[in-house]
């Protein structure tokens, strides 16, 4: 309380002195922190300014950076190709592998320049999109079945047995159904732990598409899709998560893209294809699976292929673009950069596919892809 007594005035002078000391201390502190904050902020906005200097109004589209998201299936391939593209052309491509479902959704929300999906968009998904979307295949991949068993044996499966395993009807490894197909393998008395995808996945789509074709029971329920109501099993995120979990869980079985098994030295099972041959997933058997008539929009299913040497669970993987690139604040430069990138991937980028274990596009597919790319426009101008 303020009093006029001596104590009061002493107190007031004490307070004033103390606060003077503190304010000077604080000023010193301010002096050191403030310039730091300013420089940091300047740096940050400088980054933003750069994009403006290159003549773009919007801050998220920038011809020096392309943003894509989607499938984890081709992620090793894309990550290599985009790295090379950055080294050769100086353009940064930021690809986030969030799953095919994510790629489709973010493209529909127009938050990315391109999407990526192994599952071609369904008619329903296309009709729900704000504008027409084209599919450009970039390579061929195989979905393989891998297991964690002692000795890492290469197992043989028939479609029926595989479906029954994933339906949860075959529960143990030493089940006679599996043993009869693999007489030379010592199968342990261990429960089968199924590992599937927890996110919306094109790999799941490809696998369930195959299972729906070979098993009526699977077709009825759960059917085919990017996110399924799995009868049994654990979920992991991305091809990365599934392979990671399988590696650590004894007795587990799951489906991953071939490259993930190769990179992590996991065994890939041989499957009995439609023609009755047990085929392993190789570049040749993947390419053989694509030996069919390809539709113009390239939305096609390659599973359960008729080809005698084809591996039965193969698929193209696609980059997704809007047919008309003129939307939101998209500049022509951005659109051209995106189209140029896709063009690179289907031509020069193909040599990296084989190195990594993906089958390059067959010539027929490349021709169809080029035609689709030519149809991508910016307003009324073509970009190729």
């Amino acid at each position: 309380m303020i009093t006029t007594s001596k104590a009061g005035s002493h107190f007031i002078s004490y307070s004033i002195n103390k606060t003077k000391q503190l304010t000077t201390k604080m000023m010193k502190f301010k002096k050191s922190i403030l310039p730091l904050l300013i420089t940091a902020f300047a740096l940050a906005s400088c980054g933003g300014n750069n994009s403006q200097k290159e003549g773009n109004q919007d801050s998220d589209e920038n011809s020096n950076g392309i943003l894509g998201a989607g499938a984890t299936f081709p992620y090793p391939f894309y990550s290599k190709v985009f790295d090379i593209y950055n080294k050769e052309k100086g353009i940064k491509v930021n690809y986030q592998s969030i799953g095919s479902g994510g790629g489709i959704k973010q493209l529909q929300n127009k938050t990315v320049d391109f999407g990526a999906s192994d599952a071609p968009m369904s008619d329903e998904e296309l009709s729900k999109s704000p504008a027409p979307i084209v599919h450009i295949p970039t390579c061929l991949g195989a979905v393989i079945i891998t297991c964690n068993l002692p000795g890492d044996p290469v197992l043989k499966f028939t479609p029926e047995v595989l479906a029954n395993i994933f339906l949860g009807k075959v529960k143990k490894w030493n089940d006679p159904n599996i043993a009869s197909l693999n007489p030379n393998v010592k199968l342990p008395d261990l429960a089968i732990s199924i590992i599937h995808r927890s996110d919306g996945s094109g790999t799941t789509y490809i696998f369930s598409d195959y299972l729906s074709k070979v098993s009526a029971e699977w077709n009825a329920k759960p059917g085919k899709g990017k996110s399924l109501n799995w009868p049994a099993g654990l979920g992991a995120k991305g091809n990365e998560g599934v392979s990671g979990l399988i590696k650590q869980t004894p007795g587990s079985i799951g489906y991953v893209e071939l490259v993930y098994a190769l990179q992590n030295k996991m065994p890939a099972a041989q499957l009995k294809n439609k023609a009755g041959n047990f085929v392993a997933a190789t570049l040749q058997s993947s390419s053989a699976a694509a030996n069919i008539d390809l539709p113009a929009d390239m939305r096609v299913s390659l599973t359960n292929t008729d080809d005698a040497d084809g591996y039965p669970i193969c698929s193209f993987t696609y980059l997704l673009l809007y047919k008309d690139q003129k939307y939101n604040n998209r500049t022509e430069a951005s659109a051209k950069a995106t189209v140029d990138l896709v063009n690179y991937v289907i031509h020069d980028g193909q040599k990296y596919a084989e190195l990594l274990g993906y089958a390059p596009l067959p010539d027929a597919a490349v021709k169809k892809a080029e035609a689709i790319l030519k149809s991508v426009t910016y307003g009324d101008k073509t970009l190729q």
Binding site: A191, G223, K226, S227
Partner: protein, 299 residues
């Protein structure tokens, strides 16, 4: 109170008014932000609220292919993991609160353990998940193999254990305070009658601080319900109702984290946001109840 008297000097008058207005405005902004959050969640949940209604909560099939969204498995998973975590951590949290609030209130031992508990609270969730994946999961796997259960390693029990560790500091910080605030005369009266320390704790302190301890547990529960990253990495991500503590499951928060960036279709996205709304409401209710108890207790 912000004083009503201002000075007639025009320059200062303007600055005075501006300052006071800024203060009031900022408070309004806080309230607006909260209301906006609630409305965004509500409005974006409308499509699924309309299409699915109450069935959302007792339908046990989550099938995006068939456009069927029953969140019961996730509700069960959330409740199971949170309550299990609470169960595991409560004895420890009460023990630590007694340790810090009664036995070692000051001194180097108290400081050390206080810092340790604070550090536990500071470790990010994703690091808990990472550590759990590489240390806890193999241990649980070994136990599961011994118990002849599928050796997933991940599952309800693993995520509950990690959750228990994560929420311990939250209940401890509150419980410790209320225990140390028990009036001395109550304790001394008991001691003077010959009570041992154990008896003072169990018969005087605990009953006295009952509601404070309960509030601490509530706050810990609220934290556990919304915890996302560690749980996502350790729960197994299965869309079915967990059948036991060793089976995998899913919680609402981890489903949102897994599927939000790829939910296509209005109802799918809306269903996920509806779960977010549910989490928001439940966390808010628990939070408010907890704070009310604390207020009544400290008054």
């Amino acid at each position: 109170m912000i004083p009503a008297i201002t000075f007639k000097n025009n320059g200062i008058n303007f600055k005075e008014k501006a300052f006071k207005k800024t203060l009031t405005l900022s408070a309004i902004v806080a309230v607006i932000i909260l209301i906006a959050i609630f409305f965004t969640l509500l409005v974006n949940s409308f499509p699924s609220l309309k299409a699915l209604g109450a069935g959302f909560f007792y339908d046990k099939t989550w099938d995006p292919v068939a456009d069927e969204y029953g969140a019961l498995p996730f509700l069960v998973g959330t409740l199971l993991t949170s309550f299990l975590a609470l169960l595991i951590s409560t004895p420890f949290s009460i023990a630590v609160s007694i340790f810090l609030g009664e036995y070692y209130k000051k001194g180097i031992v108290a400081e050390t353990f206080k810092n340790v508990i604070d550090l536990l609270a500071g470790i990010p969730s994703v690091i808990y998940g990472f550590w759990g994946l590489f240390v806890l999961v193999p241990i649980v796997r070994i136990i599961e193999i011994k118990l002849n259960v599928p050796p997933y390693g991940v599952g309800i029990i693993t995520s509950s254990i990690i959750l228990a560790i994560m929420i311990l500091p939250f209940s401890v910080s509150l419980s410790r305070q209320v225990i140390s605030m028990v009036p001395d005369h109550l304790k001394e009266a008991a001691y003077s009658l010959g009570a041992t320390r154990f008896e003072v704790i169990t018969k005087i302190i605990i009953p006295y601080t009952k509601s404070g301890l309960f509030a601490g547990l509530l706050l810990a529960l609220g934290r556990a319900l919304g915890e996302t990253m560690a749980v996502t990495m350790l729960i197994g991500n299965t869309h079915s109702i967990p059948t036991g503590i060793f089976s995998p499951g899913n919680t609402m928060a981890s489903v949102i984290a897994n599927e939000f960036s790829e939910a296509t279709g209005k109802i799918y996205t809306s269903a996920l946001i509806e779960m977010g709304l549910f989490l928001f409401v439940v966390a808010t209710v628990i939070n408010i109840i907890g704070k009310q108890i604390i207020k009544r207790f400290t008054l």
